[in-house]
Amino acid sequence: MDKSIVSDDVVVRANGLGKSFGEGAVIALEKASFDIKRGSFVSLVGPSGCGKSTLLRLISGLIEKSSGSVQVHGDEVQAPRPEVAMMFQKATLLDWRTSLENVLLPTELNGNVTREDEQKAADLLRLVGLKDFLFSFPSQLSGGMQQRVALARLLQTGADVLLLDEPFGALDEFTRDRLNVELMRIVGEVGATTLFVTHNITEAIYLADQVFVMTPRPGRIAEIINVDFERPRPLSIQTTPEFNKLVAHVRDVLGEDH
């Protein structure tokens, strides 16, 4: 692809991107090509083994690609970089640090922590609804609250590409719904480009501007579906016929198992 036609609006671009393990024995991801526009929200949905997490890790630079190309802001990804930050299914908080200290970790790893950094971290914790828990330790928080801290830490990095690997997958449905609504509000506020991995079709459509439907063996992107509902989206949108038509379509692409 000619690099000169890459528009400024494209933040993440993949072209024939592939990843295999064990000298090609297992193909985790096969020939993925896509453009992701600045500020858009993309959901990656599909069953286990479809390569969703692999794709995120390729973009983050945590693992090396086997073939093709993947670019962030026009540069080929070689290693983790400051514009890209990741959030995991487990909160991965450090048990010996308070919420505030956990949120400050990215800043600390990249230099000295100033008073402004502390202020920003405290503000982010307020943004995710934890203003009364700045000095609580992870084990004193519920699972949902721990993920809120992880979300604040993600935002503290200042990255404009956010990679979320089933961030609320381990939480109960009510907590998850509420956090999804807040996630949409928050990433909208900070204007980040977001890639969100999930097993859940409804969640995938509800949150996204684009849904990448992925299928396993070998892992690949079967279809990219545009979701054009206006924002902000109420939870009740999930019961409209248009929404359900999209759900049915995604199920169709995923095949018999769903």
Binding site: T92, L94, L100, L105, E108, L109, L134, F137
Partner: protein
């Protein structure tokens, strides 16, 4: 009665139960002591081997106060335990860290570790004395030998079993190797390392006694041996109870230290440090 809202029948019941239990403890303990005393007085227990509680107390008074012989030996044993523990613990922790961080060393060292774990290490004590001669050096070496293993294994496993998800987080945040070590690996290993140190200190006390049984120049171990040989069982018992107290204090002391250092592993520690951090950062 104050008012119906503060009246808590469950709580009152619990307090009542607590008092009842304490009373039961006192009754059982007194019965035990009184029957022991009577048993030895009426000749049911041979006072030669089972001296009465009153004669043990009497001996304790003699060795602690009247001629105060025990202090010299008490210091000797405690000093030995301290030095031996320090040496064994530094050696074990250091070796554990080196092996933990080096996968090649780990692979080739593993069979030796298994062999060492299966061998009762105290069996080597006579050889150490043969090699190092009588004196403090061989005693400390014996203690080192019995107490280095727990810190070694626990440090090793603490360092090796670092949480993969957290490691990935640190990598995604572009942390350096040193940062990963300082801010993730070491803090994560601390609780299990502390558990190793606790085991080591208890083992050090046993090791010191064995060393003193073999070399009877000084220390509580040699006192017990000499008193027993002279059929002064009451004094031997007084020494044994001294060791009980030392063992208890060591256990409690290490527990206290553990709760301080690995504060995030217990509720009280979390609450305490949380309040402290909040006070330090007032204004947020």
């Amino acid at each position: 009665m104050s008012n119906s809202q503060t009246f808590n029948p469950a709580k009152t019941n619990r307090a009542h139960l607590g008092r009842k239990r304490a009373l039961l403890h006192v009754v059982i303990f007194s019965t035990l002591i009184v029957s022991w005393e009577t048993g030895s007085r009426i000749g049911l227990l041979d006072p030669l081997f089972y001296p009465s509680p009153s004669s043990i107390l009497n001996s304790a008074w003699t060795i602690y106060v009247a001629n105060a012989t025990i202090w010299y030996h008490l210091y000797a044993t405690l000093g030995l335990v301290f030095l031996g523990f320090l040496a064994g613990s530094i050696f074990g922790t250091g070796l554990g860290a080196i092996v933990g961080f080096n996968s090649v060393v780990r692979r080739f060292l593993k069979p030796y570790v298994i062999v060492l774990e299966a061998t009762p290490r105290i069996a080597v004590a006579p050889l150490l004395i043969a090699a190092l001669g009588f004196g403090s050096a061989s005693k400390i070496a014996i203690i080192m030998l019995v107490c280095f293993f727990a810190p070694f294994i626990n440090t090793l496993s603490g360092v090796v079993n670092v949480n993969e998800d957290k490691l990935e987080l640190f990598k995604s945040l572009r942390a350096s190797k040193l940062q990963i070590l300082k801010k993730l690996v070491l803090p994560e290993a601390i609780p299990v390392m502390m558990a190793g140190e606790r085991l080591a200190l208890t083992a050090a006390l046993s090791g010191a006694l064995v060393a003193e049984f073999i070399q009877r120049d000084k220390g509580l171990g040699s006192m017990i041996l000499i008193y027993t040989r002279n059929l002064n069982m009451a004094s031997a018992f007084a020494c044994i109870f001294t060791l009980t107290v030392i063992g208890f204090l060591i256990f409690r002391g290490m527990e206290w230290l553990d709760h301080r250092i690995a504060f995030w592993k217990n509720e009280a520690g979390l609450a305490r440090v949380s309040t402290k951090r909040a006070r330090k950062m007032e204004g947020f």
